[in-house]
């Protein structure tokens, strides 16, 4: 009996350790990034790192300013959301309110498939098609903020679609029926009752999509142009925080390498803030928002 108790206790401790692993990993990631990135700030003031756009890590008098990459990240992400949010809302509303069961199932599995396509494949697609489309429509080289944003929009669409649909379906039936019973049309019910009621969920989904877009690396790397300069308009070449890390990582040493970890810290901070906004302020967990996949 005692041996069994010990066994039970040991198993519970093991399971607990496994559950602890995620937190430990998050703590480790934070600690290691900080440990490797912060030494840069002994040489370069934090404010200069964040608010200077002089990125010349290999120059005689090296400059480590990542302002242009921060702006690049937000420019690309903002543009992507500008495209993806209206389209995602429309498809989400269509799935939740307008479609019949069969077409909804078809669209849902198509969206799921696209969510599963690796980002490097989207990158190839971007080079072959998006850059050409962007070149014909808007001029320029075709490799720049606009192309990167189009690719990111396609990649964030599945998140926004499924979050919108799940949030709309989670609204109690009574709300919709009450509105219809009062004589409102279906469209009035959608715009004045359902969407406002699902607002917090949809907003959380958009923020979630934003987090994904800021952290996306391969696809933007392949179509963004990757010039370490201030983004010059919508067509100009752009380098984001993620691109900066992956481009220089293969050859950086010394302070240069440290500055890449510091770039990672900044990116990580943005992501953490976005995640915490979703989880704490909106009181929704990411798992609730993404819904149950595959049903």
């Amino acid at each position: 009996m005692r041996r069994r108790k010990i066994l039970e206790g040991a198993v519970e401790a093991t399971l607990f350790a496994a559950a602890l692993l995620s937190v430990v990993t998050v703590v480790f990631i934070t600690a290691f990034l900080f440990q490797r990135g912060s030494p840069l700030f002994e040489k370069v003031p934090v404010l200069e790192f964040l608010f200077s756009s002089r990125w010349e890590p290999t120059a005689e008098n090296p400059g480590y300013g990542i302002l242009s990459f921060i702006l690049g990240s937000f420019l690309v992400t903002g543009l992507a959301l500008l495209i993806a949010v209206p389209a995602g809302l429309a498809v989400g509303i269509y799935l939740a309110e307008l479609s019949d069961g069969r077409s909804a199932r078809f669209i849902r599995s198509a969206v799921e498939l696209l969510a599963g396509i690796p980002s490097v494949v989207y990158g190839l697609f971007g080079i072959a098609v998006i850059s050409a489309v962007s070149r014909t429509l808007f001029g320029g080289s075709g490799y720049g903020a606009l192309s990167a944003a189009m690719i990111l929009a396609i990649m964030t669409l599945p998140t926004i679609i499924s979050v919108t649909e799940v949030s709309l379906r989670a609204i109690p039936r009574e709300l919709k029926e009450g509105s219809l019973a009062l004589g409102a049309t279906h469209w009035q019910t959608i715009t004045r009752v359902l969407v406002p009621a699902a607002r917090s969920g949809i907003l959380a989904g958009v923020i979630l999509g934003m987090g994904r877009a800021i952290g996306e690396t391969m696809a933007v790397l392949m179509v963004g142009g990757n010039a370490p300069i201030m983004p010059s308009g919508l067509n100009g070449m752009v380098r984001t925080l993620t691109m900066n890390i992956i481009t220089d990582m293969s050859y950086a040493t010394g302070d240069h390498l440290t500055s890449l970890f510091a770039t990672g810290m900044v990116l990580f901070a943005f992501i953490l803030v976005l995640n915490l906004v979703v989880q704490l302020a909106l009181k929704k967990s990411i798992s609730d928002l993404e819904g149950k996949s595959g049903e």
Binding site: E8, T25, L124, G294
Partner: protein, 556 residues
């Protein structure tokens, strides 16, 4: 119009009904517009998404490129009675004149850029002092009277007779020789490659830059137009303002015969044949302003005439069985992706071996053991946060922790461990859902029969939740296949089969990226991407089937 007046006449009788009626009608109208817009936008979005998927798969299967080349597509089997002899183990296909010339002048050292194989190139020349050798030399470098001079490369080996050259070719896989057709006929172990050597030679003035513009690449139709006189001025092709002067090769010459067999008949009229031999013909092109005429590439080069660039469309199968089954060579320039597929599956196996027990254990803890409280909330917050971290941060962490601090180096183990951390939140979440869906009654029944909590969990709850857990696992692995950024810093990029846990290995997604970024081959990147997408689809499909079976058994 009638409708409006009717509404108005009703309205005079009852103000309230009128305003409610029109407003309702307007609302219905705007609803119709809005719904049409939403339907349209949805269909558009889905169509775009479908097109993307179709495009990727199509580009993966077929390639279709527009090449530029100076040579007309017509290939001669035995130009001037000579043949290009190679080992019979080579892939058949026509050679461009420039490639043949380059083979004997040290421009090429192996076959990689010629036919994609990685044999070394061994050019063999027959001793130029013999009549056969002199004939081949004149063929390759031009005759002395035309102004040609031999420029044999240092790699070229000399054979005394054509029979000796053919014997060497039969022995050496990468050998090439130019021998008389009669000698090569029936020689064992040897095959001949047809040669493309017809070009459109133009007067040097035509090929000059004018205001930064240069004569465009010409299509086959353009060539016909130029030769027949339908095209009147070079301006039409972006060239200088010169009248087109087509020149026809002398009647009865080898060139005229080749042109005729290429199917390019000079129409009677403008392009009057130049009397005399081939030299006069080339001199006529060189001396006439705006002149253009077909010529053999070697003769045109010796005469100092530029050749117009032509476009040539090539297409074929991109993804073949051979591509899947061969090992990559020369950084993926040639060969296939068999080792890369194997590496990918090794990586996934390792990842599952780590992630499945850990994720399941964490999920069991959350569902069966954890008591609600701030501590467990913090644990959950940690899991959710982990789910939102982008892969490049995982890459940095894996590089620091697994590669450097733990000293695993770039390899399968570091890569799999990094992937494990990435997919852990997904596995925990889906396993939790599966465990929660097991009815309470089953747990209570087991406990009532005297089983301990551990026995209940291990023998009742987990087995009952297994299909759901597996589904989550498959979905998570499907996502892990496509991971690139994190693996570039942790798994290395060796394209050979991984020899062990610490051996650097390249997966499919990294191969796609490296084929593109190292500028090796866009087509190959696409065919690898198609394989990758296919693997992802396979995982998704497997998960779907499992869910379907689960629902059916739940209903039964």
């Amino acid at each position: 119009m009638n409708d409006t007046s009717a509404t108005r006449s009703v309205g005079t009788r009852s103000v309230g009904t009128r305003s409610a009626g029109t407003r309702h009608r307007a609302a219905i109208g705007s609803q119709a517009v809005a719904f049409t817009a939403i339907r349209g936008l949805s269909i558009l979005t889905i169509a775009v998404l479908g097109l993307i998927l179709g495009f990727i798969l199509y580009k993966g299967l077929r390639y279709s490129n527009i090449d530029r080349s100076a040579y007309l597509p017509y290939a001669e089997d035995a130009p001037d009675g000579l043949v290009v002899a190679v080992n019979s183990g080579r892939a058949p296909g026509a050679l461009d004149w420039g490639v043949l010339y380059g083979m004997f002048t040290d421009e090429y050292i192996d076959w990689a850029k010629i036919d994609g194989s990685d044999d070394d190139l061994t050019p063999i020349a027959i001793d130029p002092a013999t009549p056969e050798g002199a004939r081949a030399e004149a063929f390759l470098f031009g005759t002395e009277e035309a102004g040609g001079y031999p420029a044999w490369g240092g790699l070229v080996q000399t054979a005394s007779t054509s029979a000796a050259a053919l014997a060497a070719v039969a022995e050496t896989p990468g050998a090439v020789a130019i021998v008389p057709e009669a000698a090569a006929r029936g020689a064992p172990g040897v095959m001949t490659l047809p040669l493309r050597r017809l070009v459109l030679a133009v007067n040097p003035e035509v090929a000059e830059f004018v205001d930064d513009s240069y004569i465009e690449d010409l299509s086959g139709r353009d060539v016909m137009d130029l030769l027949s006189g339908r095209a009147r001025n070079w301006k039409e092709f972006g060239g200088p303002d010169l009248a087109v002067a087509p020149v026809a090769p002398p009647e009865g010459s080898v060139l005229a015969a080749a042109v005729r067999s290429a199917g390019l008949e000079y129409p009677a009229g403008p392009g009057s044949p130049v009397p005399g031999g081939g030299l006069e013909y080339l001199a006529a092109i060189g001396g006439t302003s705006g002149a253009a005429g077909l010529a053999f590439a070697g003769d045109a080069a010796v005469a100092g005439l530029p050749a117009a660039m032509l476009t040539r469309r090539t297409s074929g199968w991109n993804l073949t069985i051979g591509y899947l089954l061969e090992a990559p060579r020369l950084s993926g320039r040639t060969g296939g992706i068999s080792t890369i597929i194997a590496n990918t599956f090794l990586m996934l196996l390792l990842t599952v071996a780590f992630a499945a027990p850990l994720g399941l254990a964490a999920a069991v803890y959350f569902v069966e053991y954890a008591r609600q409280g701030p501590f467990v909330r913090a644990l959950r917050l940690g899991t959710e946060t982990l789910a939102g971290i982008p892969s490049i941060i995982f890459g940095l962490f894996g590089f620091l922790f697994f590669v450097n601090i733990l000293g695993f180096g770039f390899g399968l183990l570091s890569g799999s461990l990094t992937l494990t951390l990435m997919i852990l939140p997904t596995i925990i979440r889906t396993s939790e859902e599966a465990l929660k869906s097991v009815p309470r009654a089953m747990r209570e029944g087991s406990l009532a029969l005297g089983a301990t909590k551990l026995q209940t969990v291990a023998r009742v709850v987990v087995p009952a939740a297994m299909p759901g857990i597996l589904t989550g696992l498959i979905l998570a692995v499907g996502r892990a296949v496509g991971e690139t950024a994190a693996l570039l810093f942790t798994m290395g990029s060796d394209y050979q089969l991984a020899k062990g846990l610490f051996s650097s290995a390249r997966g499919l997604s990294a191969h796609v990226y490296l084929l593109f970024s190292e500028g090796i081959s866009f087509d190959r990147a696409f065919s690898t991407a198609a394989v990758l997408v296919f693997v992802v689809l396979l995982f998704n499909f497997a998960a779907k089937r499992l869910i379907g079976r689960m629902n059916r058994s739940a209903a039964a």
